[in-house]
Amino acid sequence: MKKILTIGAITIGMIASSCHGKQLVTNHISCCPPTGTTAPITIATTLQAQSSIYQLTGKWTDEHNQSLELRDLKGKVRVIAMIFTHCTYACPRLVQDMKAIADSLPAAEKNKVGFVLVSFDAQRDDPAQLARFASQQGLDDHWTLLHGDPRQIRELSMVLNVKYQDAGDNTYTHSNAILILDKQGSVIRSLEGLEAQTSVADNEINRLVNR
């Protein structure tokens, strides 16, 4: 029993200490209180540039087989999620939630916002498969679907704070998050879980489009 208590104390200590050096954006692990609602207001411009995910280098390929870097996404507010197209459970709902956000945007904002889906599945989600998926889902040219190599995908998951595991047979267990990025590429908000949060997203996007 003493041993169990010791271990518990150490575990709590470690979790607490790892929360100490927290980053600026929201995170979904319950040990750290979310700060996403205050961070965008308090952080300085220089820190925002420092937190832009567009600092990640490396070439991706989109559903039109065009090569691009993440920094090419700069200039628009971006709504981004990581999925894989053979996913039967959570990913279709993530895409539905993103479509609901897209549909609810006022006409004046539509061209200032882009939607991005990045696949975990480097093997099967090649550009052709991504194009098929876009067409099946009725995703218009406000959407960008990205294929990359496994190392880039892992790096991107780290900056977006998305957890995933290759569970074998090309299926992936992953956290379900829709992230909203400002025009410079900083993660401003992370919408977690499988619940449509369209109005929260709309308010955030509206604020960022007009900033």
Binding site: K3, I4, T6, I7, I10, T11, M14, I15, S17, S18, C19, H20, G21, K22, Q23, L24, N27, H28, I29, S30, C31, L47, Q50, S51, S52, I53, Q55, C87, Y89, A90, C91, R151, R154, E155, S157, M158, V159, N161, V162, K163, Y164, Q165, D166, A167, G168, D169, T171, Y172, T173, H174, S175, N176, A177, E192, G193, L194, E195
Partner: protein
């Protein structure tokens, strides 16, 4: 402790039949990167029982042969990297890639300061920094499976009956010392790797694949289960990994690099 001759024989037998390739690799890296000690140990292919399993995963996982650093990267080695890559200086690193505790044990941007920690594992480095260091050497971080598989090898001088998880728990009972001991100060395992337990925690490439909590955050929620609930030492490693984010820097968290065998 004195070992019987038979066990010495067995240990020699267990040592990987390696070295020429690893030494070649080391020689090449030393030429390119100055004083960085890059000796890698060849880890033979094998199977291991992972601690965490998704419902549909096999209970044994196969790991292909790979190379792994014989000890954790030291402060002195990491300094070479920072000198060659000024964007990884303490004062230059973007907050996207490391929190503000990054390399806080050093006296300055390119100055370790305390000579006592030159050969200690570098800690207070983020996943991004560890990843960049390995990339700089043409290497990579080990995967979680690779690391766990390599760390499951027993100490080369352990009593035949000793339980590895007990040895590890003994380490967990002690707080991290103010000055970390040097690498190669705890034990070498039968693969030839130093300090896999007992010195620092180590980053792995896919630490963010650990999802101990169920709940509605995860696709296929509830499918992850633990393989061996009595293995507290493993549970603590996985719980620690789950609590991390890639920007975090922790005083007891270091890393070593791995490499594919071409």
């Amino acid at each position: 402790m004195k070992l019987p001759a038979t066990s010495v024989f067995i240990l020699l037998f267990l040592l990987p039949p390696v070295r020429p390739q690893a030494q070649l690799e080391a020689a090449r890296s030393v030429r390119a990167h100055g004083q960085v000690n890059t000796e890698m140990i060849r880890i033979p292919a094998g199977k291991f029982q992972p601690f965490l399993l998704a419902a549909d995963q096999k209970h044994e996982r196969h790991v292909a042969a790979f190379l792994l650093g014989q000890h954790a990267v030291t402060n002195a080695e990491f300094l070479q990297f920072v000198k060659a890559n000024p964007q990884w200086r303490r004062s230059s690193v973007p907050r996207l890639f490391a929190d503000n505790n990054y390399l806080s044990q050093w006296a300055g941007d390119e100055n370790i300061g305390n000579a006592a920690i030159r050969r200690s594992p570098v800690t207070n480095i983020s996943w991004f920094a560890a990843n960049a260091y390995c990339k700089w050497l043409g290497k990579r971080l080990p995967s979680l499976d690779e690391w766990e598989y390599a760390a499951a090898a027993r100490p080369e001088n352990a009593d035949p009956g000793a339980d590895l998880s007990r040895i590890i728990l003994g380490w967990y009972d002690h707080p991290t010392p103010a000055i970390l001991p040097a690498v190669e100060s705890t034990y070498r395992n039968t693969l030839g790797l130093w300090d896999m337990h007992g010195l620092v925690w180590e980053w792995v490439d896919d630490f963010n694949s650990v999802m101990l909590q169920g709940g509605n955050f995860y696709c296929a929620a509830g499918s992850a289960g633990t393989a061996n609930k009595a293995d507290y030492a493993a549970y603590m490693r996985y719980a620690f990994r789950e609590s991390l984010q890639a920007t975090y820097t922790v005083g007891s968290l270091g890393f070593r690099c791995a490499q594919d065998i071409k």
